[in-house]
């Protein structure tokens, strides 16, 4: 750690773990990226919290492919379970509780199968990213009720897409180096967000959505 800012050195000397420091400094960049994707590109995802937390869940799994596998399993099992539970007409919270249980057991099965196939990397994924992914089910159901199945699946994959990009940004060595050297760079995201917050132009996705009106007749 040669080129490190003096405040960062001070924090490290006082016992703040390096990982914590890096993640806290990267967080503003991740959430700004999510805001940019929403306002300018038009990729919605599940708000800002979910893609951000999934990004960190991906960072916490040893390899990104295992994180993606777990995410996709949660969505697939969640959709099937909701379909099966539809007939039972249960109240909302008990229904979500059942779904979380079913999804949890499926993930357990997945880890077990991974272990027997000698995919030890999958079996040894730590528990917190797994729990985060499992609770994604509630968000997924809320959107299913609100906007229907198709929209929920699309939003899930948009969330995954943004999280994967977030993962690559957050694990980019050059960026980490820069941010440890100039930690205040993180605050540059505030003016960027003020600009995004006042932006009234068309989103990229809207150029596609309104293509029939835009194209010259």
């Amino acid at each position: 750690m040669g080129n490190v800012n003096s405040s960062v050195t001070l924090a490290l000397a006082n016992g703040v773990p390096l990982d914590t420091l890096v993640l806290m400094l990267i967080l503003p960049i991740i959430v700004t990226m999510i805001a940019f994707f929403r306002q300018v590109v038009g990729i919605k995802a599940f708000g800002i919290y979910t893609p951000a937390i999934i990004t960190f869940a991906l960072l916490a799994t040893n390899q990104i492919k295992y994180g993606i596998t777990i995410f996709v399993t949660v969505i697939i099992v969640g959709t099937i379970t909701r379909y099966l539970l539809k007939k039972a007409r249960l109240l909302y919270l008990p229904r979500v509780a059942i779904m979380i249980t079913v999804v949890g057991f499926s993930i357990l099965l997945l880890l077990f199968v991974g272990g027997t196939w000698n995919r030890t990397g999958l079996a040894s994924v730590s528990i917190f990213p797994i729990l985060i992914m499992i609770t994604l089910v509630e968000k997924f159901i809320a959107v299913q009720i609100e906007k229907g199945n198709r929209a929920a699946v699309i939003l899930s994959f948009e969330t995954l897409f943004i999280s994967v990009i977030g993962y690559y940004i957050a694990s980019w060595p050059q960026l980490i180096k820069i941010i440890l050297h100039y930690p205040w760079i993180s605050l540059l995201t505030i003016p960027i967000n003020i600009f995004l917050g006042k932006w009234t132009g068309l989103r990229l996705s809207e150029y596609f959505r309104f293509r029939q009106i835009i194209k010259p007749r």
């Binding site: 007409r89 109240l91 009720i145 609100e146 906007k147 929209a151 809207e206 029939q212 835009i214 010259p216």
Partner: protein
Amino acid sequence: MTSFFKARRNILGMNARNLRFIRPNNLRRARLLADDKLLSKKFLEKAELPVPNLLAKISDFEELENFNWDSLPESWVLKPNRGFGGEGILIVYGKKKNVGNTWIKADGSLVTAEDLKTHIRNIIDGSFSLAGVPDVAFFEERLKILKLFKPYAYKGVPDIRIIVYNKVPVIAMLRLPTRESDGKANLQQGAIGVGIDMATGVTTTAVFGKGKMIEYIPGTRLLLSGIKIPHWKDILLMAVRAQEVSRLGFLGADIAIDRDKGTVFLELNARPGLSIQIANMDGLLGRLRRVEDLKIKTAEKGVSVGMNLFGGEIEEEIEDISGKKIIGTVEKVKLIGKDGKEIEVEAKIDTGAYSTSIDANLAASLGFGETLEKFSQIDFSTSEVTPEKELETKKKILEGYKDEIPDLTDVAVIFSASGSSIRPVVNLEFILDEKKILSKTNIVERSDLKYPMIIGRRDLKKFLIEVK
């Protein structure tokens, strides 16, 4: 390329909708009103806007247990008060006979009071409300579909969405429920949105679901353009009134037409969707800019501004260039009789005929009975009806009988595939698409034909004919 930028600048995107229109114009209080269906209903009723009647409401589990199911009529709609996107709505069309409290849904399946209890418990628990907050369930009367709309809609009742800004109705569409949308009139769920010309209330272009342009109802030959919405001006006026009472500066008004009650205000919407632009093939931002700075005092003024600014463009453009009116192949015509009596009939526009002719019975009702009667007594056996002798024959008859027969202005000799005939000609005034025409009309027996009148080339000089 310039048209690309022009079109782009006129489109309202999500960012601009939220920041420039919803945020400053739809204040929190007004948004809360729009999200509360029962409160909206009360508000609209106070402003004397017709709404579907409220039958009953259930706010908690105790009320649900004590609810008297016999108090419900044969058909009704059950809704969550703070529902959105049509979720949680249950519609029944009739009550099953001889079985206690069982109703029939559109697809024929049955709903018992027990099923309803579970559904209502879910509503009260907030399963269908934003953020899952506890909710109220209510029953309201089921609207009946207008005959005009019946072939176009699947199961549900179509409604008309109008966006009102600064007291001006700026854009509108007819929303038709489809099989894909499961009878719901929501574009996001797969309904059809049909753009409406603001001046005339006639439908123009249509979008199916999120972005597919269509001309016909899928799987049929039912044309979606050219449907004339009844009570158009009233509907626009209702939308503007609703803006005044709700104080939603940027309002999406949903209005339906009931078979018996007429126009009915369905719902206030504080965050109207943007697909209405695709249905109309026109950008909303351009329209909003044009009404932004206007000072509109009354609802009536707002309606006429909207009708003038955003309508009649397609037809008017052609009419302006050519100076001619556009008519169809069959048109309503107002005939003016001898004593000023007016009769409206459907006439066939026939460019294959030179002159206009009307049915003998119709002519009699217009006061030409005597003319006809006397003309029929003439013996034509001596006249030669051949193209060579036409002029001579005409002259002979006209000179011989002009003074005897009232209103006889000419005699027509018609040669047609079905035989030749000699007909009396009278001066007849009629109004076609607001233009008054003085026509030399011949009279003939048309009672076995579909239209009592055909209008020929001679009287069509002021028109262009559109063949659909």
